[in-house]
């Protein structure tokens, strides 16, 4: 195996410091010492990320923090392309991975890095882990993926909203029904969207779990009520921000 992959893997594994790049890639954008904080809320489709982020944002703002939200495929540059590719269902898996990476890079350079520089708390609705999980399930080489996302910044906190498939199915059906992509219908497990959703989400959840140690996920039991989850998030975020605000001994 060639060395570059290992460098970035060692970085991710070997407890790379939060707020630094995982691996190689953007030497022209140094980020050391930026005052902002990056908090990622990860979890599968429909698990309740947006609900929690909304509440967390209000709470942080009341406490006087500047908050910026960023989310997957929200980059103004790439959104139309991704939507178009999705709607035509012709997205090849490699192109799919690269389109998502492009969208992420755009938001990293234009939104996340400037916000960190300006001292904001950045709440990221999904981070690279969703991309890694989706691509991993589709059989894309995991080492290549880690090297690809070497340009990502290691968040200060990664909350993983952990759920089981049964709970998820209930939540998604109640909220809005199952969607073609969330059911992995492109993987052609069969025509039945319910069976496909279950099989695909099961694989995805396993893929997320397999990354938990490597990327220091903080597991949050997402089967509980909205309020209970929110309380736990606030407790952990508060503890982190307080310790970060304390003046460091020189």
């Amino acid at each position: 195996m060639s060395s570059p992959l290992h460098d970035s893997l060692d970085g991710a594994n070997g407890g790379i410091q939060s707020g630094r790049y995982y691996g190689r890639a953007i030497p022209y954008l140094p980020i050391d010492g930026y005052p902002g904080k990056l908090i990622a809320i990860e979890g599968t489709d429909g698990v309740g990320r947006s609900t929690q982020i909304e509440l967390l944002r209000e709470w942080l703002e009341v406490r006087g923090y500047g908050v910026i939200e960023t989310g997957w495929t929200r980059s103004p540059l790439m959104q139309p392309t991704i939507e178009l590719a999705k709607s035509s269902n012709t997205l090849n898996k490699l192109t799919f991975v690269l389109l998502y990476a492009t969208d992420f890079a755009d938001r990293l350079e234009k939104e996340i890095i400037p916000a960190l520089k300006a001292g904001f708390v950045v709440l990221s609705d999904r981070y690279i882990f969703t991309a890694l999980a989706r691509a991993g399930v589709r059989g894309v080489d995991r080492q290549w993926l880690r090297s690809l996302y070497g340009f990502a910044i290691a968040p200060h906190l990664v909350f993983y909203l952990k759920v089981d498939v049964e709970t998820l199915i209930g939540r998604v059906l109640e909220a809005r029904g199952m969607d073609f992509w969330e059911s992995g219908m492109d993987l052609k497990h069969g025509d039945d969207i319910y069976d496909s959703f279950r099989a695909y989400q099961n694989k995805l959840l396993r893929e997320y779990s397999s990354m938990a140690d490597e990327f220091h996920f903080r597991n949050i039991d997402a089967r509980r009520s909205v309020d209970t989850i929110q309380m736990e998030l606030r407790r952990q975020v508060a503890a982190f921000l307080e310790s970060a605000d304390e003046p460091r001994p020189e």
């Binding site: 190689r24 890639a25 490699l94």
Partner: protein, 163 residues
């Protein structure tokens, strides 16, 4: 970074639809620019050298890669003769090295060329002196391409007499 990934996405699309299928069918594919273009361009724009190489590791390694090498002055002259205006990105005007397009082009392409020199070494590209005449260049190209064609299965089956 975004620039680099956009190009890679486009490249992946062309690779999967335009390059791999004809190769599978035993055809010859001529690619005007390949991953090496990205290696030199993206590195010049400040992206990590090793990262770009990893990024493109999904690309098929060409049987033959030709590099038309030219001194910077020659390429400046050719561009000036052909076009009224230099393209914004080709001239690296986004880098902010110089507001004069020609000067910026010289600086930017100078770096691109020295990256290419490194790539020639690393990936064993065949160098063609692009300062020469078109006829001379074409003669070189044919010489380099010929051995690859002689051993291609398609070519052989054509030449073998039917028993």
């Amino acid at each position: 970074m975004t620039f680099s990934l956009l190009h890679a996405t486009d490249f992946a699309d062309r690779l999967l639809y335009k390059i791999i299928p004809p190769l599978k069918a035993g055809m010859i594919v001529l690619a005007d620019r390949y991953a090496y273009t990205a290696f030199s361009r993206d590195t010049t724009r400040g992206v990590d050298r090793q990262w770009v190489r990893e990024l493109y590791s999904f690309a098929v390694r060409p049987d033959l890669a030709l590099y038309f090498r030219t001194p910077i002055e020659v390429s400046v002259d050719r561009l000036m003769a052909r076009r009224v205006k230099l393209k914004f990105y080709e001239a690296g005007l986004d880098m902010g090295w110089s507001s004069n397009p020609v000067e910026s082009f010289r600086l930017f392409q100078g770096k691109v060329l020295s990256e290419y020199d490194r790539i020639v070494e690393e990936f064993g590209l065949q160098v063609i002196d692009a300062a020469g005449s078109i006829t001379e260049q074409q003669r070189m190209v044919r010489q380099l391409v010929a051995p690859h064609l002689a051993t291609s299965p398609v070519e052989m089956s054509d030449e073998q007499p039917v028993a």
